[in-house]
């Protein structure tokens, strides 16, 4: 691989890494949103159960 080719590979590689890092951040955020949604569902179910009992 020539020096010029290495720089081209580096430039395209940086772009790929950026997109992958972005996807990883979004995936982390999605996992957090999923946890929070599940927590809110549990909270709502508990509240509905309390309303029925009380």
């Amino acid at each position: 691989m020539t020096s010029g080719e290495k720089y081209v590979a580096a430039a395209y590689g940086v772009f790929l890494v950026f997109v992958l890092v972005w996807a990883a951040i979004i995936a982390t955020k999605l996992a957090r949103l999923e946890r929070e949604t599940a927590e809110l569902v549990r909270l709502t179910e508990r509240r509905v159960a309390d309303d029925v009992d009380g």
């Binding site: 720089y7 081209v8 395209y12 972005w22 949604t37 809110l40």
Partner: protein, 227 residues
């Protein structure tokens, strides 16, 4: 099909176009006579820079609409576009720096107006986030952020035209009044990359916006349940 559920199709289209763009840029486009293989960075570097300008411009447009018409959803849209612009701005600086090292032998040249003005634009929008997160959420933050985003848009034409106003001629000028200074295959590779990266930016914007809206909705739901 509504615009709500076309995001996966757009994401696949962006991935396909990006693959095609890489093939065209690396295998189909002929090698540049002056710069050799390193010129192939151009096919991604310039579309990334143009996409960054577009994202900042759209952020400013949403900010203008917020100040003109109002509505907190425009604040989130403006913020998300500027966030995308910053991501693509960082990529522009990094890929440009790699290209500069390959072509000029240096990672950075302070004598090139184009580079310095792009850095100023990038840092200006980085400061947008510092300003935004130093103010409590609410209408005041929305208005101040919108005004700041609008000020930044004035730097875009200056940065874009700097290459033509510059007297050093270090940074290459590919698009002149006579048209693009490249072969048809090179221009096709460039256009494909530009379309792919613009579409990718739009998909990223829509994904991030959906995440931020869901976050806000969940927060509102949590507060409502806590009462």
């Amino acid at each position: 099909m509504s615009s709500r559920n076309n995001l996966p199709i757009l994401a696949f289209a962006a991935a396909g176009l990006l693959g095609l763009a890489v093939l065209l840029a690396l295998l189909v486009a002929p090698e540049d006579a002056n710069q050799g293989v390193s010129q192939r960075i151009f096919y991604f570097h310039v579309p990334i820079a143009l996409t960054a300008y577009l994202c900042f411009g759209l952020g400013a447009w949403k900010a203008l609409r917020l100040l003109w018409v109002g509505g907190d959803r425009r604040d989130l849209e403006s913020y998300t576009w500027i966030h995308q612009g910053t991501i693509f701005g960082a990529l522009t600086l990094i890929t440009g720096s790699i290209w500069a090292r390959a072509s000029w032998g240096v990672w950075w040249s302070w004598s090139s107006n184009q580079l310095v003005l792009f850095l100023v634009l990038f840092l200006f929008y980085c400061a947008y986030f510092m300003l935004r997160f130093s103010i409590e959420p609410g209408p005041r933050r929305e208005r101040i952020s919108a005004v700041y985003a609008l000020f930044g848009v004035a730097l875009i034409p200056v940065s874009f035209l700097a290459i033509r106003l510059a007297s050093d001629f270090i940074h290459p000028t590919v698009f002149t009044r006579e048209g693009p200074q490249m072969t048809g295959e090179m221009f096709a590779a460039f256009c494909c990359s530009w379309a792919a990266i613009t579409l990718l930016a739009y998909v990223m914007y829509r994904t991030e916006l959906a995440g931020k809206r869901t976050d806000l909705n969940l927060r509102a739901l949590r507060e409502a349940l806590a009462r």
